[in-house]
Amino acid sequence: MKFILFALKNLLRNKIRTLLTVLSIAVSVTVLFSLLSFTKGYEKGMTSELGKMGYQIMIVPRGCPYEAASLALSGGKIPNYFDYSVLEEVKKIPEVEIAAPFFMSAIIRPDEDRTDIYFGMDENMFQMKKYWNIKGSYFKDENSLIMGGDAAYIEQTDEPGQKFYVREKDREFVVTGILERTGTKDDGFFFIPLKAAQEMFGQKDRVTGIAIRVKDPTLIPTVVEQLEKLPDSQVITMSQLMGTMMNLVAQAKTLILSIIIIAIIISALGALNTVLMSVFERTKEIGVMRAMGAGREHVFQLVWVETLVMALISGILGIGIALIGMGLVEKIIKKLLPLAPQGSVVSFDPNTLLICLGFVILVGLVAGIYPAYRASKLKPIEAIRTE
């Protein structure tokens, strides 16, 4: 028989009390583990999404960074426009490899609770989307349309060649291609030729933004510097954008983390209380153990191990619950988060597991010290006294 087994049996004495303590620690650990997994997954999702965009810089008409950011990631109606002169300026910058103008706008159908995003683009943008797998082909003429994977699913369009009618604008397109799902916002868009978009939304020769690919990523700062001289425009680099997103998430994370820390401290105090009570209940036993040759260190160790075992069980339980509930957390977060990347936002990471386990061990060690100390201080003769 080992100390640890002895400790375990002690914990099983008051099963309800131990269970409640274990649950309270486990819940904190579940939340902690989920939060950490989410942040990791979110970072991964954002990085891969931004990586797939095929460009490193975008310029848009002046607006707040959040709006710009949301534009880049989620699409939407942009109220301000550039004309082509800006595009010419951008093309003059020697380090720019491709400058792709685009026109993005939305048609909202409140009755159907849907917003269709139309993304007008030309071959330059197509160049950047080299990773696209199109079933069918690129635009053939001004009436061509390419559907994102999800958009096609909603429209129940599975073969190119079908017609697509936009009733608000009385405009008919022919679907030339359907995108295989990319795991980005592209999946939800309707891609049409730039000219068609400008016409359809009545903004001839104007664009809502320009996506820029630089010849070499190290040149990004140089290009940004030159772009910033352009009037009424705002430069967004993808890394910046990611930074903004991550900042928003980080702020929320800090808040949630502080709540979790408080929850954990409370559950640690609960554990301390549970073990302390069980020490008091076992005063006589502890005295007898001392009489049988147990040193202070044995008693200390025993009580400490008990707390630690309890914390460990809680941690494993908490992480288990978090792992089982990962899918659910994913769904909830995606609902709450306005700018969630399309891919998974919750990811399992062994480091997160280690962090949570380490944390819970720390809680056990700290919460166990005081009760263990009290137990080890019990004087055998006082403990055993019957009157």
């Binding site: 100390f3 002895f6 036993e285 001392r290 009489a291 049988m292 040759g293 040193g295 055998p380």
Partner: protein, 224 residues
Amino acid sequence: MENNKHAIYGEGLTRIFQRGSEKLYALRGVDFQISPGEIVSIVGRSGCGKTTLLNMVGCLDTLSEGTLYIGNTEVSRLKEKDLIKVRRENIGFVFQLFYLIPTLTAYENALLPLLFARRLDKKEKVKEIFQKVGLGERLNMLPSELDGGDMQRIAIARALVNEPKIILADEPTGRLESKSKEKIFGLFKKLAEDGLAIIIATHDLGLASRADRMIRLKDGMVVN
């Protein structure tokens, strides 16, 4: 001084407890010796100092005054840490209320002292001791499944595993019915024949008078 003959040799044993501002003499200059193989009973009214005397000679507590030898070791001036060692090597305790750990089986209870002494290599001995104290094969039963007599046997087995030279029993039969009482006393007799020194504090004069020697305490002093 040399103490070759006695398992315990104590002179002028005194223990003073502080009760508020008052001094309470639980033991007042008691001389006490016991030889290997001897059974000594300690009698006296409740509060006369029996338990205190057992605690003193059992090194559970430190003397206020006096000299005490356990075997050849003078323990009266030892520190707590060294007392634990002396206790572990020499003394087995048996209590009126058994004080078994309810979550552990009979066998595991008896094993505990070996765990503390880091001598789990000797655990085979536990079975032998179970035979000797008359528990036979009842190794895996929980204390709650046994009667008082058997619980006290487990406690005695537990006191024996570290191979002590002295058994200190504080009212060991106080909670037992007369048949069990007899058997437990018989067991002590047997252990004494094996050379253990046995001290039994008891209320039961009938039992006490069957010891080799009886010591009567009153207000912390020996009376004749």
